[in-house]
């Protein structure tokens, strides 16, 4: 894979990461964004896109998704390269004292500075908290589907009642024996999918069971049956594969192993440059900590602006940083194409 080079890698494409692209761009720095979700926007887009936010300066009311869209429109003049569906995994120094960051899909990016804007952490599938679950994971229990061919003519049990659960149930019902287990016969999913699922069930193409997963049994990671519990009664469903879709949760992930000074799983920074305990690694937004920290989007914006000025020194050690307003700078207008 071709090694990519940039000035600054930003981990996390939420509102604060996007605004960091803009602030760094104003000071002539190129950026790459890395995010584990399949879209930009972080929590705003994943958890509550339609919820209104009332404390963004000058916006009486803005939905979380609108905010993300506007932030992207604002920063896109600076052409950030965006790497989605991958986690920032490994961080090393090269001979030139630059950072090499490797993502979970094997992409390598060389940068002078790293900015961690990872919010409440990286979104990862919520795993089944069962004893011995590791034995089955990636053999007969999958939290996402990579190769659906393996499911052909098999007994598939899908757990959950959201879009992922229903989409895969519909898709796999063409090639496998699909059962769904869910705590209620109501689904938080696209109305079309819900309609289709109920039709498939009516036509005996899909089986529906009320309940929650209690335990798994099988051998060498190969599943035989899944025990379901419903209203204190247990029963078994013969299953070759189990696909639990219980949404996503957030965790710090590999960043926890980067030897940064942490406080209660947050990254300690100073309040002048928002630099971490390791020089040229910065942290902004909800994931950082300093005395008086307020977890607000607007705090993250402020932090992005100050952080960018320090990044400039690492990226352009010989250049003087001139402070310019966007209202009057011709150079900035040119960059923004206005």
């Amino acid at each position: 894979m071709q090694i990519q080079k940039t000035d600054v890698v930003i981990i996390g494409a939420g509102p604060v990461g996007l605004f960091a692209v803009f602030e760094l761009g104003l000071l002539n720095m190129n950026t790459h964004l890395i995010d584990n979700l399949d879209k930009i926007g972080g929590q705003c887009s994943e958890l509550y896109p339609e919820k209104p936010i009332y404390d963004i300066p000058s916006r009486l009311k803005i939905s979380a998704q609108e905010l993300v869209d506007d932030l992207y429109n604002q920063c896109k003049a600076f052409n950030p390269t965006i790497h989605l569906k991958q986690q920032a995994e490994k961080l090393e120094r090269n001979k030139n004292n630059e950072w090499i960051i490797t993502t979970s899909t094997g992409e390598e990016i060389i940068a002078k500075c790293i900015v961690i804007a990872a919010g409440a952490g990286s979104f990862v599938p919520r795993k089944l908290p069962l004893k011995n679950i590791e034995k089955y994971e990636n053999i007969s229990v999958f939290y996402s589907v990579r190769d659906k061919k393996i499911f052909k003519n098999k007994n598939i049990l899908i757990a959950g009642g959201g879009d992922s659960a229903l989409d895969w149930a519909i898709e796999l019902s063409n090639i496998s024996n699909v059962s769904i287990v869910h705590r209620r016969k109501e689904f938080r999913a696209a109305p079309d999918s819900v309609k289709k699922i109920l039709e498939l069930e009516k036509n005996n193409k899909i089986k529906f069971y009320y309940g929650n997963i209690d335990s798994l049994s099988g051998q060498n990671g190969k599943l035989d049956k899944v025990t379901i519990i419903h209203e204190n009664k247990k029963f078994d469903i013969e299953s070759d594969y189990l696909l639990p879709f219980f949404g996503l949760k957030m965790e710090l992930g590999p960043i926890a192993n980067w030897n940064l000074k942490l406080k209660d799983n947050l990254i300690e920074v100073d309040t002048e440059k928002f630099e971490t305990s390791i020089p040229s690694i910065f942290s902004i937004g909800d994931i950082n900590w300093y005395p008086g920290k307020l977890k607000l989007i607007l705090s993250g914006f402020h932090e992005a602006a100050l952080m960018s000025r320090e990044c400039f020194k690492y990226c352009y050690p010989d250049k003087k940083l001139v402070f310019r307003y966007t209202t009057s700078s011709k150079e900035i207008h040119k960059k923004l194409g206005v």
């Binding site: 929590q43 958890l47 509550y48 919820k51 409440a120 919520r126 089944l128 908290p129 959950g160 009642g161 959201g162 869910h182 705590r183 209620r184 109501e186 938080r188 929650n212 997963i213 219980f246 949404g247 949760k249 957030m250 977890k295």
Partner: protein, 104 residues
């Protein structure tokens, strides 16, 4: 008027926490330093403030709305008395309510 809520943590230890109207249960539990993640900050979008409400108190609570119900869909160790503590506002009639933190 100040009251209290009684919370059993995951080790079985019982905590009596001071409670006041105007706060939701998640906030009272979180601000007392008990290990409740509440990742989304209280908008029924993450299910990490899952608690069990003692049976006798269930009927005193506000009903479960759509958002909460669909987050409970993503929760393990679900029981009949499962609630998201961010969706329950403390009122004086809940003085003495007993809760147990659900496993993580």
């Amino acid at each position: 008027m100040k009251g209290q809520i009684i919370v059993t943590d995951r080790e079985g230890k019982v905590h009596e926490l001071e409670a006041e109207e105007g706060y939701v249960l998640m906030e009272i539990i979180r601000d007392a330093g008990l290990p409740i993640e509440a990742a989304c900050g209280g908008c029924a979008a993450c299910a990490t403030c899952h608690v069990y409400v003692d049976q006798e108190w269930i009927t005193s609570l506000n009903l479960i709305e759509d958002d909460e119900e669909s987050m409970l869909d993503q929760t393990f160790f679900l029981k009949k008395n499962s609630r998201l503590s961010c969706q329950i506002e403390y009122k004086n009639n809940l003085n003495g309510i007993k809760l147990t933190l659900a496993p993580e």
